[in-house]
């Protein structure tokens, strides 16, 4: 009896907080018909926002993946002073408000900031693509590292050692031994990084300037349409983002390690 009570309380909670709200996005987007929704997401502004969102992710995700793997190797295999500190710094983006991330970038690259002179030299960081990429990189940095570190710990170094004694060069060891072992974890981390990069709102909106058709990503577009009372546009763009989110969840399922 108490088992059913617990089960239905949990399912009820999940339904109210999670499932019904996500389902409602689809309902609201299509309640005026699919053609209307399609029209709303194919305006030039919406398409540009989608393109910009994907472009930012296409820069931030590969960089964070490569750096993430190197950082994970350094954290697990490296022996150097300040490793504990490095570990803490890698987790920092998870504990900092995205708005504070954006604020830090504005204060660094804005007028009077340490690197504020770059704008005078014609290198536009704020209210332009570089600032938005930097903000996205910051918030999506920890995911690959966090996924790869436990796997590196678990596989140990015996195989790498064996390959090395057989004369393999370090990069060969990485390519033939280490990488195949962490591939699954890297893929999982990449999916999480991508999800965060596509969905980021607070940090990007602080640095973007939010100019329609120029520096507006899809999440910013959703907010702008809502503020401008174009709710059907906001919901149609939300559906695109929700579909990406569902694709992410499905990928996570497929990539999940077998023992779970």
């Amino acid at each position: 009896m108490s088992r059913y009570l617990l089960r239905f309380s949990v399912l009820g909670y999940l339904a109210l907080v999670l499932l019904v709200p996500v389902g409602f996005v689809f309902y609201r987007a299509f309640d005026q018909g699919a053609a209307h929704a399609w029209h709303a997401v194919t305006t030039p502004e919406a398409l540009h926002a989608l393109w910009l969102t994907l472009l930012i992710a296409a820069i931030a995700v590969p960089v964070n993946t490569i750096v993430g793997v190197i950082l994970a190797l350094a954290l697990v295999r490296g022996r150097f002073a300040g490793r504990g500190l490095l570990n803490a710094v890698v987790d920092l983006p998870l504990a900092i408000s995205p708005v504070i991330v954006g604020l830090g970038l504005v204060l660094l690259y804005g007028r009077g900031g340490w690197l504020g002179g770059l704008a005078d030299d014609g290198v536009k960081i704020l209210f332009a693509l570089p600032g938005m990429v930097l903000a996205t990189m910051f918030v999506s940095m920890p995911f690959v590292v966090r996924e790869v570190v436990p796997v590196l710990r678990e596989i140990g170094t015996e195989q790498e050692q064996a390959a090395e004694t057989l004369g393999a060069a370090p990069f060969q060891v990485f390519r033939r031994i280490t990488f195949p072992a962490i591939r699954g974890a890297v893929a999982y981390g990449v999916v999480l990084t991508t999800a965060r990069a596509i969905g980021e709102f607070g940090a990007v909106s602080a640095v973007s300037g939010n100019v329609e058709g120029q520096t507006q990503t899809l999440p910013l577009y959703v907010k702008a349409q809502f503020d401008g009372f174009d709710t059907s546009g906001a919901y149609a763009a939300s559906v695109v983002l929700a579909l990406i989110a569902i694709a992410v969840v499905v990928s996570l399922r497929i990539l999940q390690p077998k023992e779970h």
């Binding site: 504990a95 995205p98 660094l108 983002l241």
Partner: protein, 277 residues
């Protein structure tokens, strides 16, 4: 044996740094410094640029203090609800069986994948003015809590689930066969084993709730002294050109939330200190 393993690991570490590894590590650390540390340093610098008195004045503006109190209070409530609901969810997903369980398990990750602004938009439509359920919690603290619960839902579930999977049911059966009631079994056997995982999930949920912006900004209505959380206050100060004021509040908020995280981590280590003996 153990020291041998350490020696082997050391040798491999040396191998990595011998060629290329050192350079790659240098590049990665430089990236981390430029992308993560430099903006934070600029933030701290800007917060103290007017002197300590100015910092304190900016950080303790009545509106900022009200926002800070609201943020920390809501994050604490959110963490507490997650501790209970998250553990219960993990329990149902691991120990219970019902059709569609795999699907429920999969959708737990949705808040990680769904952009926060979309979450805020749909929660406002569903539980705000014109709600199909006839409830309107828009522009109230409960509305903000709802948004925070949405975005933090996976943390405790995903932290507790693997531990629960590993947990041997024999201990619980032994306790039950010795006459312990279900609640006693949970309190004396299951709960102590789950506590470290619950606490790490709670810490992540708390940190996320303190900083959340996208999901909250629409449903909160941002009424100063009532429903304005710190992240929204900071954003507002930044928009109105008061960067140093925004920085002062940010530094204070960061200090408090990192302090809370350290405290939770410390409590966790204290509770689990026997495990490492």
């Amino acid at each position: 044996m153990a020291s041998n393993a350490v020696a082997v690991e050391r040798a491999a570490g040396a191998g990595w740094s011998r060629a290329g590894g050192g350079l790659a590590r240098g590049v990665a650390l430089t990236y981390l410094s430029l992308v993560v540390l430099l903006p934070l340093a600029a933030l701290a610098w800007s917060a103290r640029s007017g002197g300590l008195a100015a910092f304190w004045h900016e950080a303790t503006e009545p509106e900022a203090v009200a926002a800070l109190k609201l943020t920390l209070g809501l994050a604490a409530v959110c963490a507490l609800v997650n501790a209970i609901a998250g553990t219960a969810t993990a329990w149902v997903l691991v120990r219970d069986g019902f059709p569609g369980k795999g699907l429920v398990d999969a959708v737990i990750d949705l808040p990680f994948a769904l952009p926060t602004i979309v979450a805020g938009l749909t929660l406002l439509a569903l539980y705000g003015p014109g709600s199909p359920f006839g409830v309107d919690v828009a522009f109230t603290r409960f509305g903000i809590l709802l948004a925070l619960l949405f975005v933090t839902l996976p943390f405790v579930v995903r932290a507790v689930q693997p531990v629960l999977l590993e947990l041997d049911e024999e201990m619980e059966e032994a306790a039950a066969s010795l006459g312990a009631r279900p609640f006693a079994v949970f309190r004396r056997i299951v709960f102590p084993n789950l506590l470290p995982a619950v606490l790490s999930g709670v810490a992540l949920a708390f940190a996320r709730a303190v900083g959340e912006f996208g999901a909250v900004v629409l449903i909160s209505g941002n009424i100063p002294f009532k429903t304005e959380v710190s992240s929204v206050y900071i954003f507002g100060q930044l928009q109105s050109g008061n960067g140093s004021g925004a920085a002062a509040v940010s530094v204070l908020l960061l200090a408090i939330s990192l302090g809370a995280l350290l405290a939770i981590g410390g409590f966790r280590r204290w509770r689990t200190r026997w495990d490492r003996v």
